[in-house]
Amino acid sequence: MLCEARVWRSLLKRAPRSASNQTSTSSKPIFRNPHKASISCSYSTLPSNSGETPLSALHPLPEESEWKRVFSPPASPLILRERISIRNPKTARALAEGFTNWTKPFLKADEAMGRGRAAKGAPKILIEAFPGPGALTRALLTLPRDTFDRLLVLENHPAYLDYLKPLEQIDDRVKVIPYSGYSWDTYSMLEEQGWLDDVPKIPWDDGVHPSLHFISHVPLSVVGEQLMNQFLRCIPDKAWLFKYGRVPLNLITGEWVWKRSSAGPMESARCKLSVIADATAELSLTLPQERLLPYVEHFHPLVHTAGKPSKKPVGRKVGHPMVGVSILPHEDQAIGVAMLEKWDYCLRRLFVLKGQSLKVAIGSLAPGAQSLLKPLTDPSLPPEQRLDMNKQIRRLDIRDWALIIRAFNNWPFAPEDLLIHDTYNPGSRGGMHE
């Protein structure tokens, strides 16, 4: 996310900082006043069917055969080639519906609707990141106005923007923000621009957030898993969008990332990400996976079968099966406030030895960490606070982890500097050759 700092700063110089409705004389305003949008929201109270925008009314996407030429010409950068987007309009529609429907059972409707935007009769704000050419965006726009009244689209790739920007003209719910969903700055900007001013802060124990929802394609690159990880890791400290409450997320991501994030203690894919996911949120598939198979019928870009065999891992090859995932933050968070670093540290250290028993692995946590065995196995403790030291690291469940981290936290000799992600520093004592 560092990479886009540059973009953000140059933006600061050009764009008006807040949504102070000035259509400036010198430079073109980049953003409209969000409050304008909220005026149009009153339409959304219309009966649902009449609120639906027919797909045909929307600015059309190119013919399928043209997608490759328009959106991923041969020399496009790697980062773009690894961005997977929905191509099939029917699938897009199915996902759009799935994404917007699943939270309903979790809403504490009577209470939540009585506050904030809902009180004013305004339903939801959707944020869509990495829309790509916009098939999903279009599918969302076919949904009735009572589903959502504002769609903030985060996209910075010019070829995609050409097909997203026109949507603003057709549906006033749309606002295209020409910056990447990958950069934290983009979200700070959303706030500073006032686009989220009317989002109520809903207490964590007050159910799922009724009026903010985040949707995103997740790139297939290594960034993808990172992104999933980052979103989840914002939950415990209620950072990012979670400062507004238990905001639901929907991600379209590779099966590989899904498997890793949803793996339980008995599965072989169990990893750090699975534990973090386990600790922070409820993950489920929005649609049955078969609905999105085979890949070629639903997604862009198409697989290049020609050429050399790729050295990439299977999970990162274009053509890898995709899934739609629904994420709902837990009400009870296993990771306490400001404890994330300790969790990260212990997970990182111990998962290196995921096949080993805790008894063996715990020594590599820190020098002297063997002494943690005592508080974890002390017979004087009630059984639910004791740990089976013969359990393999990857078999540990959330309760086990919570105990380990608690013991680590109480240990006076626990290393304080948990921030260095790797103490390995090549070049600090270089070899003799240039």
Partner: protein, 1277 residues
């Protein structure tokens, strides 16, 4: 430039010239075979790991007769294998004989007859020429002793005919026939006592008289006289003052073999030791060493571990006496910890080893390589223990791991240390007389007779050494790892420290016993990396407490002139084995070096290393005093890091938890801070070593033995304190000999001081003036270095500057400054030496001017020039509001770009340049930490653009070298062509290019003008997983063949080639300086001598450079390739994978099919070659495009690709020029189109082109005349 008068110089350089023009003698070995193939020829040059392991097992089993039967059994197998010829040498035979006899004598008396019969059978087989090895003096000595012990009249009589024992006349006959002097029998290392020697003389005399061999009787008489003569016992007066090891209290119980206090050795009139020493002198006609230093050196290398143990014990006792005996406090001293661990570990090892041995005895399965017992029994448990502790402590901070080390390296190093200790025990037991270098006399290095003389002397000395050496085998990597892990595992189990901490909430102090070492894993770019870490408590101590216990003499300077290099693994330290070349895990390099040495191609290389090693140094006491004061104060000063890291820790922002962005920035800064702290710690440790060593050697004359890297660049072997090290190390060293300054010397001293201050851009007069203008500052610095105005600290090289200030002041204050005896080394540095060589190679006038090859009034500085160019561009970008340009404006100094400019000619990549620049920017500290990476990317691009066409001459040569290397690394030796042809048919599934890839085994090899073969080691070595008791480690087996990494072979060739040239230039200069009596030292392209000798050395530097570059270097390189790779062929399929064919067709106005058809015929093992109508010029261009970056792209780091194209686009569109990034994009596109239109034809995999026909012609030379260098003032300055 004043030149010494006289003819000798002129003829000297003529000799050198004709030496360099001679046809170089190449070392030609077969190209390694692909995995799973072998041939007899191949076996002759390359030993596989299984064989090496067998040898190691034999060695270990013979040691102390651990398991002689097993050794015999493995030996029998080896003897029958085709590898016998290469691996079995006479020393191994002798060891076997000795062990058989030892079994018969004491270990297995019950089976005496069988053992004796084994020995006699083996000997008889050797004697009758049935064996690979021919008996030598030691063999006969063993057989004579055997006779003495077991003849029918002895106390243990045996009938000779029962066991086939030869009688003395037969033995003597064999001896005489082989022309082995009887004196060598008497002096043989296998004779252990004076009495035995005397008995053998008696026996030999009687036999010789009986046989009427008058000359033998005479020789025996002389031998006896030598043995009886009065010769001072070399160890009688060993001085108490032991450097490093002082105070010395020698303990006679520690098993010192030649103990002067042992009365036995003095009572017996015949003194074997004296005989040996005298014989050594006679054999080598050498000058006698001053005994005291020689024996001090011996003791220094001898007893390191005993001494270390003594010191640790002593320290522990002192602490005890001081009443610090209670656990917690005592635990805070490194030495007493180490002593404690040592106590526990040796006990533990004793038990565990005994256990291992017992368990292994129970195993009947004779699988040779799985036993550890024999190897763990080679060295005593207390030594094993100490070696493990010391090596582990020493490795702390190595390999980029802070407060720890990589597990694989730790285990290998410890395994290797045990192996070396075993070898040096043997070496010390034999007490081999040390030949010392004799100063070069007579006809000079470069004449034919001089060269022959050198060769003859070295061979004689080597023979002498080998005859008197016991055999020891080299261990395989796996064995080292296994032994290492056994020891480290035990250590980790026993070594603990008591740590204390304060609980923040309560203020209560708590203690906990923790392991001193622990192991864990890190992830490094997705790879799991095992590390061993020190407990933070221990690591902390490493930067404060005395460290000398952890140093092996292998890491210390020597007290005597190093042993001259007698062979590739003989030289340098006396009793520790070192290699003349630092191999990069490459058996091929070792084989080439060994064979070049055997062929006598390396005399001047060895001589050069000897010259470098024989320069005497001393520690600069005045500077040392200042350093020590600063060190003890714990403050930061001039690159000495502070005891406590002094940078403020970044503050945690308030919105840290809630704002991911703020968190990210904070983490970046925090990480940089932690890194800084870790670096501070390792810097502190490194200075600690230097201070300790300097302190230990105060007042001593010291020597730095040298060896070289695989390109032939020389390096001092002691790693910590040497003249090649940092500013501090250099500031601490002076030449040991002083010479009067004279007028020119005084001037050079001043110029040198100006250079050290960074004032090196002006003319010499201006530099001298600069010093005159700052005399007050200089005096102040010299007199009150810490209390004064500290002018010296502002210098680029402060410690050297301080040393120079002190020297200049002393000179000026002396009664006659011109007569002042100065031992200060003055440097002459090449100004961008790589480019100098390129300019001379290409005859590039413009380039030559840039790097001061031409005659000018003022030095030209290419770094400042580039910095100015970059600054210009930044300025214009800044005007366009480019953010990074605005951040960088006014910050582009010479220093920021220097490394990148320098390394451009060595082929630095964008990624490399970015990292270099990022480092410089971070050092400046005026750019926010988290921005440095992006800013560096931007700046690196600018710098590389600016350099772009500046050195076009260099670029052309680089390209030529690169293409040659690409072709070579893609070629297949003639013998493998049939296999390569049949390969694709076997594996139909894979594509044609892949299937033949197994055959890609040819590395780029060339010979330097001095005769050194240079082998590029880059191969796709497969790492092997070895499970140890600690961790699973990945190690590569240097003996296992692997295909070449052709991308690396090609990209590394230009820089390696230039380095081989600068190394040659340095060696020539060293030899010539030695001839002319100058003291010389070098740091690659920085040459050092006394101030008064600078003018003379300057002349030499220029003469050697001219001689070197007048010898048609590139032409000879081309010729060598043609000879070396004769008959090698390149598969068409590999050529076709680029755009070569299409380019070729376009140039030849024909179709690609025609070219390919004329080039090769399908299914033909002896294909036709590419038609002669193809001009190499065209090929060169074609190849450039074709092979240019196909594979580079494939293997680029992805991040580089992600960033460059987009940014390149936005930036170049604006300025309208075509930067490198854009052309790369174009290239890629063209290539893709090409590939589409030229798919591989059917059967292409069966076609080949002869390599030598493809090699492009040598680039034409420009009109720069290298002789001009003579007139250049600033060439080296």
């Amino acid at each position: 430039m004043s030149k010494p008068a006289g003819q000798s110089d002129a003829t000297g350089s003529e000799d050198m010239q004709s030496f360099l023009n001679r046809s170089t003698s190449f070392t030609l070995l077969p190209t390694p075979l692909p995995p799973d193939h072998n041939s007899h020829l191949h076996d002759l040059y390359f030993i596989d790991s299984v064989t090496q392991d067998s040898l190691a097992v034999i060695d270990a089993c013979l040691h102390n007769c651990y398991d002689v039967s097993r050794a015999k059994q493995i030996f029998e197998t080896l003897r029958k294998s085709p590898k016998a010829e290469v691996v079995l040498d006479i020393r191994l035979y002798n060891s076997l004989l000795e062990s058989f006899i030892a079994m018969a004598t004491s270990k297995d008396i019950d089976n005496r007859l069988i053992w004796l019969e084994d020995a006699c059978t083996l000997f008889n087989s050797m004697e009758t020429g049935m064996e690979v090895a021919v008996p030598n003096a030691t063999t006969y000595a063993i057989m004579f002793s055997t006779w003495l012990s077991f003849n029918p009249k002895s106390s243990q009589p045996i009938l000779p005919s029962d066991i086939g024992m030869r009688e003395p006349p037969a033995l003597l006959r064999g001896l005489v026939d082989r022309q082995i002097p009887v004196s060598h029998i008497v002096a043989s290392r296998s004779i252990s006592s004076d009495k035995e020697a005397a008995d053998i003389i008696k026996l030999l005399s009687k036999t010789a008289v009986d046989m009427n061999l008058v000359s033998v009787v005479d020789e025996l008489g002389r031998t006896q006289a030598l043995g009886n003569s009065l010769f001072p016992d070399p160890l009688r007066d060993v001085p108490e003052a032991m450097p490093v090891l002082r105070p010395k209290e020698y303990d006679p119980t520690l098993g010192e073999p030649f103990d002067p206090n042992d009365p036995d050795q003095q009572e017996i009139p015949f003194n074997l030791e004296v005989l040996r020493k005298q014989l050594g002198q006679l054999a080598l006609a050498r000058r006698v060493l001053p005994d005291d230093v020689a024996s001090r050196q011996k003791l220094l290398e001898d007893s390191v571990y005993e001494e270390a143990a003594e010191r640790l014990k002593h320290q522990a006792e002192v602490f005890d006496k001081l009443g610090l005996g209670d656990g917690s406090l005592r635990g805070s001293h490194l030495q007493s910890w180490m002593w404690e661990w040592h106590q526990k570990l040796q006990k533990r090892l004793k038990i565990e080893i005994a256990d291992v041995v017992k368990k292994e005895e129970a195993i009947v399965d004779s699988k040779a390589n799985s036993r550890l017992g024999p190897f763990l029994s080679l060295v005593s448990p207390d030594k094993l223990s100490l070696i493990t502790i010391l090596e582990l402590m020493r490795l702390q901070g190595s390999g980029g791991v802070s407060e720890g080390m990589k597990t694989a390296r730790a285990l290998l190093t410890i395994g290797r240390a045990i192996e070396l200790e075993h070898k040096s025990e043997i070496c010390r037991r034999n007490n081999i007389t040390i030949p010392t270098s004799n100063p070069q006399t007579g006809p000079g290095y470069f004449t034919k007779s001089g060269y022959r003389d050198l060769h003859a002397r070295r061979v004689a000395a080597r023979k002498f050494m080998e005859d008197s050496e016991e055999w020891a085998a080299t261990w395989t990597q796996i064995l080292r790892v296994k032994v290492g892990s056994f020891l480290v595992d035990a250590l980790m189990d026993v070594a603990t420290v008591v740590r204390s901490t304060t609980i923040k909430q309560t203020g209560e102090i708590v203690y906990e016993e923790q392991p001193a070492f622990f192991h864990s894993y890190e992830y490094l770019r997705g790879h799991k990396l095992g590390v061993v870490r020190l407990n933070p408590e221990v690591a902390e101590r490493m930067s404060r407490d005395g460290l000398r216990e952890t140093l092996h003499p292998r890491q210390l300077p020597m007290l005597v002139k190093p042993k001259p290099w007698l062979s590739y693994d003989q030289g340098g330290y006396f009793y520790s084995q070192s290699s003349a070349m630092r191999f990069k895990e490459s058996q091929e390099q070792q084989s080439y070096l060994k064979h070049a040495s055997d062929q006598g191609n390396l005399e001047l290389v060895y001589a050069g290393l000897d010259v470098l090693g024989s320069t005497p140094w001393q520690v600069n006491q005045k500077v040392f005093d200042v350093v020590l004061k600063v060190w003890n104060s714990g403050e930061r000063m001039c690159k000495i890091p502070p005891a406590v890291y002094d940078a403020p820790e970044p503050e945690k922002p308030e919105n840290y938890e809630a704002d991911p962005k703020a968190r990210m920035v904070y983490l970046a800064r925090q990480k940089a801070w932690s890194q800084g702290k870790a670096n501070n710690h390792s810097g502190r440790c490194s200075v600690n070593y230097k201070v300790e060593i300097a302190r230990a050697f105060l007042g001593d004359q010291i020597y730095l033995p040298h060896n070289m890297d695989f390109r032939g660049r020389a390096y001092p072997i002691p790693p910590h304190l040497n003249h090649i090290g940092d500013d501090l190390s250099r500031g601490l060293l002076l030449f040991a000999e002083a010479k009067p300054l004279g007028a020119s010397g005084l001037r050079w001293l001043k110029i040198h001081l100006a250079n050290l201050c960074g004032f090196d851009k002006g003319s010499f007069d201006e530099r001298a003036q600069f010093v005159d203008d700052h005399l007050a500052d200089i005096y102040d610095s010299a007199e009150r270095p810490l209390e004064g105005n500290r002018w010296w600290q502002k210098a680029e090289d402060p410690w050297q500057c301080l040393a120079a200030c002190m020297e200049l002041r002393s000179a000026l204050e002396s009664p006659d400054p011109l007569a002042f005896e100065s031992n200060f080394p003055v440097h002459q540095d090449g100004t961008c030496n790589g480019l100098q060589h390129y300019a001379a190679l290409g005859g590039d006038s413009q380039g030559a001017q840039q790097v001061n090859l031409g005659a000018t009034d003022r030095p030209s500085d290419v770094y400042s020039y580039v910095a100015a160019m970059v600054q210009e561009r930044i300025k214009s970008d800044a005007a366009k509001q480019v953010r990074f340009a605005m951040m960088l404006e006014g910050k582009i100094t010479r220093k920021v770009v220097k490394q990148t400019v320098m390394t451009t000619v060595y082929g630095v990549t964008f990624v490399g340049a970015r990292d270099q620049i990022e480092k410089q920017l971070k050092e400046r500290k005026d750019i926010p930490e988290e921005e440095c990476w992006l800013v560096a990317s931007y700046l690196a691009k600018k710098v590389m653009e600016c350099i772009g066409n500046l050195f076009s001459g260099a670029q052309e040569i680089q390209t030529w070298l690169n293409i040659c290397a690409r072709l070579i690394s893609k070629s297949i030796p003639p013998a493998r062509i049939p296999a390569a042809v049949s390969a694709p048919q076997k594996k139909r599934k894979t594509s044609a290019t892949d299937s033949t890839k197994d055959e890609q085994m040819t590395s780029v090899i060339w010979t330097t003008p001095l005769g050194l073969p240079i082998v590029q080691p880059y191969r796709r070595a497969k790492k092997k997983q070895v499970a140890t008791s600690i961790q699973t480690v990945y190690i590569s087996d240097p003996n296992a063949p692997a295909t070449v990494n052709s991308v690396k072979q090609a990209s590394a060739f230009p820089p390696n080639f230039i380095h081989s040239l600068d190394a040659t230039h340095m060696m020539l200069t060293a030899l010539e300086c030695q001839t002319q009596g100058l003291t010389f030292a070098s740091v690659h392209d920085s040459y050092w001598t006394h101030a008064c000798s600078v003018d003379q050395m300057s002349g030499i530097i220029r003469d050697t450079f001219i001689a070197l570059h007048s010898s048609n270097i590139l032409g000879k390189l081309h010729d060598e390739f043609v000879e070396r790779y004769k008959g090698y062929r390149v598969p068409i399929a590999w050529l076709k994978s680029g755009t070569l064919v299409k380019q070729l067709a376009a140039r030849e106005h024909t179709t690609s099919d025609e070219i390919l058809n004329s080039a090769a015929q399908r299914d033909s093992v002896e294909p036709k070659e590419v038609g002669p109508h193809t001009s190499t010029e065209d090929l060169l261009e074609a190849l450039d495009l074709a092979l240019g970056s196909e594979e580079d792209l494939e293997e680029d780091e992805p991040q580089e690709r992600e960033v460059t194209p987009t940014e390149a686009k936005t930036e170049t569109e604006g300025s309208g020029d075509t930067g490198p990034a854009v052309s790369k994009r174009k290239k890629r596109r063209t290539r893709e189109e090409m590939k589409a239109s030229y798919p591989l034809g059917l059967g292409d995999e069966l076609k080949f082109v002869e390599l030598t026909k493809l090699l492009p012609t040598v680039p034409k030379k420009g009109n720069f005349e290298v002789n001009t260098v003579k007139k250049s003032l600033y060439f080296f300055s």
